[in-house]
């Protein structure tokens, strides 16, 4: 069940005014479909992540979230539909699109045998950053996640929560304006989960980073988050919480989610914290 407090409004303390910005959205997906052989994984999905928006992509395991992420990050192309990052098409202008994108994948992609710093420098090099500029950005991001003292430790020595934080820092080293996180809190304890969630929401407000946060945990759709419900490869709803509640005629997101994904799967969603 979804505790009421989890969807309570958080006062907007914006230093970034998203309405003042009229450029193309951080992420625009239109008519995206994808199949693995005969298995259709995504069907005509369209969605938007605005600048400075914290957008939660809510779906059960197997809803197509990871495939959507793979297509947005150009691991492979879709046959149908288009993806634009700040107006740059991922297929025809991948450089411009990937430059502004930071990604935290579902499975850890850190090198366990390298130190925290070495992992971050590697990422900076992959974005063509000079050593000096990289040093400064890495210092800033490590300070922000509170792991400055661990920077010379091998990643293997870090806890799961710390590794996730390093991955978040890594995704931010090149100063992206769009941040994608695929189930970033899986396997983390309550404190680490909360840290990550607060930290990312702070990034939206302070730096105007557009965030797409994929999860199957309903209570991560907190406050003023925009919500997208994905089920069996189809988008079932998109909008702020109050709109989704009004549309479904329900009182909390858990009930709305169950309704949106159909009664067969009702009760399968995890509304509680692990």
């Amino acid at each position: 069940m979804a505790p009421e407090s989890a969807v309570a409004a958080v006062p907007p303390e914006a230093s970034f005014d998203r309405r003042a910005d009229h450029g193309p959205p951080a992420l625009l997906v239109r008519g995206l479909s994808h199949a693995f052989g005969a298995r259709q994984v995504l069907r005509d999905v369209s969605l938007t992540v605005g600048r400075g928006d914290f957008t939660v992509l809510l779906g059960l395991n197997g809803a197509g979230k990871t495939t959507l992420f793979a297509l947005i990050t150009r691991l492979y192309h879709s046959r149908a539909g288009k993806i634009e990052v700040f107006g740059a098409n991922i297929q025809s202008a991948p450089e411009a699109a990937l430059k502004r994108m930071g990604v935290v994948f579902q499975q850890s992609t850190l090198d366990l045998d390298l130190t925290v710093e070495q992992n971050l420098y590697y990422h900076a090099a992959l974005h063509g950053m000079r050593r000096g500029a990289a040093r400064q950005r890495i210092g800033e991001e490590l300070a922000r996640i509170g792991l400055t003292e661990r920077r010379r430790d091998r990643v293997r020595l870090l806890s799961g929560g710390q590794r996730r934080r390093v991955e978040l820092a890594r995704a931010l080293v090149h100063d992206p304006s769009l941040l994608l996180l695929d189930e970033p809190t899986v396997g983390l304890d309550m404190a680490s989960r909360q840290f990550l969630l607060d930290h990312v929401r702070q990034l939206c407000r302070a730096r105007g980073i557009g965030v797409l946060w994929a999860t199957h945990l309903i209570d991560e759709a907190v406050g003023d988050a925009r919500i997208i419900v994905l089920h069996q490869g189809e988008k079932r709803a998109e909008g702020p919480l109050d709109e989704i509640l009004a549309m479904t005629g329900t009182r909390d997101l858990k009930a709305a989610f169950d309704l949106l994904i159909g009664s067969a799967a009702a009760g399968a969603a995890e509304g509680d914290a692990p």
Binding site: A70, Y76, E95, Q107, G128, R130, R131
Partner: protein, 268 residues
């Protein structure tokens, strides 16, 4: 992206590969011990079994250890090529491959950088092996140590590219044991690494012809000739041809539009 940024990216990829190699002490040691075991045990056992006549590039009768040393250099590169490409894919479901692929640089550039990084590491190992092999009286002319460098670069690139091709196409090679059984050992045994091909031809014409088209044979011969101040034009041409084909296939295999990565993902 500017030329300076391209070189920063390449340097970063090479640095990471070197750090990984230094940090994984097990990999470091086994990469060195493996060829030394062949040299110490296998060569000792076969020392009197296989008589080697005078064949180019050698100008005199040579002990068996001297004969197999170039093949073991190529073996170091084969292992390295397979390890750096395949481990990248199988380690935690393509994790490090994803890190590489979301870089804004063109994918062909990232793949070739990865390849160069693997070759840099394998060349360091090859020279350490040559230094130790000197104590087995494998002492090529001093100039050979320099001339073998371009041969090692070329063969290392070719064998590394083969690893990339396999990593993009083959799903069944679930672990390194599979690669050992179906790629490394067959390539090693059907080549001129352990015995001269004229001896193979006497025994089995079929295996002889397989050995003749085996890229590993030509990598070995290129290294063997270079080590003794000679240039084997045929082997060089064959190695370059395979290199072009393998790099082409790898870039094709990792092209996001071809969907090979997608097919892998769909199969999981």
């Amino acid at each position: 992206m500017t030329a300076a940024q391209y070189s920063l990216c390449l340097a970063g990829i090479v640095r990471r590969e070197a750090l990984r190699w230094l940090n994984q002490r097990g990999r470091f040691v086994s990469a060195l011990v493996r060829p030394l075991v062949w040299l110490a045990i296998f060569a000792a056992g076969f020392h009197f079994v296989l008589g080697v006549s005078i064949i180019p590039p050698y100008e005199t009768y040579i002990p068996y250890e001297v004969y197999i040393a170039p093949g073991l250099l190529a073996m170091i590169q084969l292992f390295n090529g397979m390890q750096s490409s395949l481990s990248m894919v199988y380690d935690r479901e393509m994790g490090s491959m994803k890190t590489l692929m979301i870089s804004p640089f063109p994918r062909w550039f990232l793949l070739i950088s990865k390849l160069l990084a693997g070759v840099a590491v394998s060349i360091v190992q090859a020279y350490i092996f040559l230094a130790i092999a000197w104590f087995w009286e494998i002492a090529p002319p001093p100039s050979g140590y320099f001339l073998v460098l371009p041969a090692l670069i070329l063969s290392g690139l070719m064998l590394g590219a083969l690893g990339l091709v396999l990593s993009s196409f083959i799903r069944q090679l679930e672990n390194f044991a599979g690669v050992m059984n179906f790629v490394i050992f067959p390539m090693f045994f059907t080549s001129s690494a352990l015995y001269p091909l004229w001896r193979v031809e006497e025994a089995s014409p079929v295996i002889y012809w397989i050995s003749e088209i085996n890229p590993f044979t030509h990598a070995t011969e290129l290294i063997r000739f270079a080590l003794y101040d000679r240039f084997n034009a045929l082997s060089a041409a064959v190695v370059v041809a395979y290199l072009v084909v393998f790099v082409g296939l790898a870039v094709w295999g990792y092209d996001p539009g071809r969907g090979l990565m997608a097919r892998r993902a769909g199969a999981e």
